[in-house]
């Protein structure tokens, strides 16, 4: 099996120090795939979660994504960018899951929205990785203006809901939503600029 899998996994194996220099068809299939899962499962989970916004469903879909990937690789599917390909599978599965919920129309994933969600994740073609992206995000958080940083801390670190933030800060409800909106926008732009080298790193 699996020249494709072998090629896709070669870099991972090398990075993992597995000492594999000649991965050939049929060899170490599960080992390679296990490394792929370990490398990308968090990213796929967060990606799927951003689409379905449900922990259980996101975990199931992560599972299904890797099963489907395993099947596809078994059929010799050519893979150019592993993370992008995995996200493509996850997106299709998430779309079906949402449709199964029988809402009158699904909010997500709308094609345009999904495109923007994808921009928040790694873009292998541009040479940045999931790990670099998370690192950039953490650094950008430090650059948030004061009131945005405060709102982000309360919302994400302390896990406060908006009414609790309103009570704690004395801001208007609308203000909290506006500030969080602005903060997320800032973070997205900042991460993008940082990864494209426009901003220095700390």
């Amino acid at each position: 099996m699996r020249a494709t899998l072998a090629l896709a996994g070669r870099k991972l194996l090398e990075e993992a120090g597995a000492g594999v220099t000649n991965v050939v068809e049929g060899e170490m299939e599960d080992r390679v795939f296990g490394l792929i899962v370990n490398e990308y499962k968090d990213m796929i989970h967060v990606y799927v979660w951003s689409l379905v916004r449900d922990q259980v469903a996101a975990e199931d879909l992560t599972q299904d994504t890797f099963v489907a990937a395993y099947e596809a690789i078994g059929k010799g599917t050519e893979v150019r960018s592993l993370p992008a390909w995995l996200r493509g599978i996850a997106r299709n599965l998430a779309a079906k899951a949402i449709m199964r919920k029988q809402r009158e129309r699904a909010l997500m994933p709308d094609a345009i929205a999904v495109e923007r969600v994808v921009e928040c994740f790694d873009r292998a073609e541009l040479g940045d990785t999931w790990a670099e992206r998370l690192h950039a995000l953490r650094e950008c958080r430090q650059r948030l203006p004061g009131h945005q940083k405060r709102a982000v801390n309360m919302r994400y670190d302390e896990g406060l809901r908006v009414p609790a933030i309103v009570e704690k800060t004395g801001w208007m409800t609308a203000t909290v939503y506006q500030v969080l909106w602005a903060a997320r926008k800032f973070l997205k732009d900042c991460v993008k600029r940082r990864l494209s080298g426009e901003l220095g790193t700390t």
């Binding site: 499962k41 979660w49 951003s50 345009i112 923007r116 969600v117 928040c120 909106w181 997205k188």
Partner: protein, 691 residues
């Protein structure tokens, strides 16, 4: 355009706090506002990453990948690669067959013919588009877009007609028995023949649904609002954001927009006083669309003599088919609103420094002789004259509200008069205890104006007593213009001393160190208490020779202000109008009104003044609508997001006559009524007709 309500909906979606109704609303907004979908995606992506980084989402510790066994894999492969594609293909074939059958046979009564067309339009069909021609039949599922100079008329077999104005986009819905129209933007004039009672015609827009059984109406769709005006019959307007409805009858209009009261109101065909209404919004609901051509102009200086200078901030008001304007020579002139022909003139006892008012067949104005005048609007004959008996004189506009005339003199005395006989309605005038050069505004039983004590005064209209007096606001003078009362706020723009007060710290947005930005030029007070509201984004705009003009108010609930964005890293030396949202506790720039043409953009240091004619912004460079070589003046059509140039200056007028500086004396905002826009600059009164 993405507004604060959209951001709140997205915020709630991300927090999992959307109600079913809000979810429906968000879905609807996404459908209509494509940019929102992109923003939702960006926000959702970052939100998920932030949650992951914070550890609030992630795979559970028990997550273990379960790969299928070999037999299972084979079964799965068979299902995926053989049965599933076959089923999908069969389904698609069936759908294609059914839909093509339906598409090929639309009911003829639901197809419309293009009976008139001028300019370029586009007919969009599934899979392509073409240039339509008169005689073409447009069926359900098709979309028509009119170009910037195009007008197009559709007619159904039952006689129903739809006139599309320039820049409109309209789709015919696929309902089998009733006419369904979707207007994405622009303006249409619809004449609906009688429809079957069970199948009314429904016109939907991004903000509203209009249900019609038979009537004449005009529908105009802007970025944030839909305006319905009914000319005949009765129409139901339903606002999509909350499902509320209102019945609109002939002679009324209603606006569907988030944050604007949904109510049927009489169509205003005049511009009866300074700012058009008592809140001084500089707004008329009548949409008067660009482009304009010059219909007439009257040079009062040349025609009537050198004493007839017109002060800079005086507005041309319109009532009963005439325009009225007073001069420093003390004469009130009335011209025919359509032709500019002389109607009458009346000589008062002193210079007329500010804008007149029109109500119920009478023209009211103040003069420097300390008197308030009421004239018969048809004849110009004196109806009554109120003599204040004070030596100060009046240099502000009259205020018409609550069936009363309010006027404040230069000594700070505010009078309330009966429009019938000019009698005083309060025992004593309100005394501001300071000189007053700013015209008053009115809302909710109070009159508001600023004094030279740099305080805003709020006076109870029943008693003539002070409701509140604000703390002193920053700035040097409140010497011209007026407060704007909007969304529970009193908005004033003081003269702020361009260079005189270096180092003021209230420069939230601006950080340009080359020039000190000095004081605030934009002050917001709470209408109830007079306390200053400070939690808003300050918009800088400066004038060398006087205060900035107060912002006009749009029909969908925003302010438009000039903004000199010195805070930009490139230190741009321009200013242009921005859409500004003033919310409770916040206030911010939403959008810059630019289309790349350069119109509307000014050098940055000179005042600009705006008026809103329905969905049209008229933006005037303080140095004169026709008298300045800059490109700062123009018309902005909010339904097309496009600027239009002002008409050419008539030979021999305006240009070069700078002996009356309209910057220091204030700048006149354009007014409009019955398809015309009016303006005065350098003693010339202009009538511009919408083409």
């Amino acid at each position: 355009m993405i507004g604060p309500e959209d951001r709140e909906l997205v915020g709630k979606y991300l927090a999992g706090d959307l109600s079913r109704e809000e979810e429906r609303l968000l879905r609807d907004r996404i459908q209509r506002e494509h940019g929102l979908s992109e923003e939702l995606g960006s926000q959702a992506g970052i939100d998920a990453l932030m949650r992951f980084v914070a550890g609030s989402i992630g795979l559970s510790e028990h997550f273990r990948l379960r790969l299928p066994d070999q037999a299972g894999r084979r079964r799965l492969a068979f299902l995926r690669h053989v049965l599933l594609p076959l089923s999908v293909a069969a389904g698609l074939l069936l759908i294609f067959y059914v839909s093509s059958e339906i598409a090929q046979r639309p009911p003829p009564e639901l197809c419309a013919e293009i009976v008139e067309m001028r300019g370029n339009a586009e007919l969009i069909v599934p899979g392509g588009h073409s240039s339509p021609r008169p005689g073409d039949i447009v069926g359900p599922g098709r979309r028509l877009k009119t170009g910037t100079a195009c007008r197009l008329k559709l007619r159904y077999p039952d006689g129903t007609t739809i006139g599309m104005l320039a820049g409109s986009s309209l789709s015919l819905g696929k309902h089998r028995k009733a006419k369904r129209i979707a207007l994405a933007g622009g303006e249409v004039h619809v004449n609906v023949a009688e429809q079957p009672p069970r199948h009314p015609m429904v016109i939907s827009t991004p903000h509203a649904e209009v249900t019609v059984l038979g009537t004449r109406l005009a529908l105009s769709v802007g970025p944030e609002s839909t305006r319905l005006e009914v000319k005949e019959g009765r129409v139901k307007l339903t606002r999509l954001s909350d499902g509320r409805s209102v019945e609109v009858i002939a002679g009324q209009f209603a606006i569907a927009a988030v944050g604007v009261a949904l109510a049927a109101q009489p169509v205003i065909r005049d511009w009866p006083q300074l700012g058009c209404n008592a809140q001084r919004w500089n707004y008329t609901p009548e949409t008067i669309k660009p482009p304009f051509k010059l219909a007439w102009h009257r040079d009062v200086f040349l025609d009537f003599g050198a004493e007839h200078w017109i002060y800079g901030a005086v507005q041309v008001i319109v009532g009963d088919g005439r325009v009225y304007i007073g001069t420093k020579g003390g004469t009130m002139f009335a011209f025919d609103a359509k032709t500019g022909a002389d109607c009458w003139q009346f000589k008062a006892g002193g210079p007329i420094i500010d804008t007149a008012g029109y109500a119920n067949g009478r023209v009211f104005f103040t003069a420097m002789d300390g008197c308030v005048y009421a004239l018969d609007a048809k004849t110009g004959n004196l109806a009554w004259k109120f003599e204040s008996g004070r030596r100060f004189g009046f240099s502000t506009a009259v205020l018409l509200a609550e069936d009363k005339i309010f006027a404040v003199d230069r000594g700070g005395a505010l009078f309330a008069l009966s429009p019938r006989d000019g009698s005083q309605l309060w025992q004593r005038p309100y005394d501001a205890e300071a000189p007053v050069f700013q015209s008053p505004a009115h809302n909710n039983g109070r009159v508001f104006f600023g004094g030279q004590d740099m305080r805003i005064h709020a006076v109870d209209t029943k008693t003539g007593k002070r409701a509140w007096r604000s703390d002193q606001i920053d700035g040097q003078s409140l010497n011209i213009y007026w407060p704007v009362i909007f969304k529970g706020k009193v908005i004033v723009r003081p003269q702020n001393g361009y260079e005189a007060t270096r180092g003021n710290s209230f420069t939230k947005r601006a950080q340009w160190s080359d020039i000190s930005l000095a004081d605030k030029s934009f002050v917001v007070l709470d209408e109830q208490t007079g306390k200053e509201v400070r939690d808003y984004e300050h918009v800088h705009a400066h004038g060398w020779c006087g205060p900035q003009a107060p912002p006009p108010v749009t029909g969908d609930g925003y302010l438009i202000m000039p903004w000199w964005p010195l805070k930009h890293k490139h230190k741009q030396h321009w200013s242009g109008p921005v859409l500004y949202d003033i919310e409770d506790g916040t206030g911010k720039v939403l959008d810059e009104l630019r289309d790349g043409s350069g119109i509307g953009i000014n050098s940055g240091d000179e005042p600009m003044i705006g008026s809103i004619l329905g969905t049209t912004l008229v933006w005037v460079h303080a140095a004169g609508f026709d008298g300045n070589p800059s490109n700062g003046s123009g018309f902005y059509d909010r339904t097309q997001n496009k600027w239009f140039s002002r008409p050419a200056t008539p030979p021999g007028t305006a240009r070069g006559r700078y002996w009356e500086n309209t910057q220091a004396g204030g700048c006149s905002a354009v007014t409009g009524a019955e398809g015309y826009a009016y303006h005065q600059a350098y003693n010339v009164v202009y009538g511009l007709k919408s083409e």
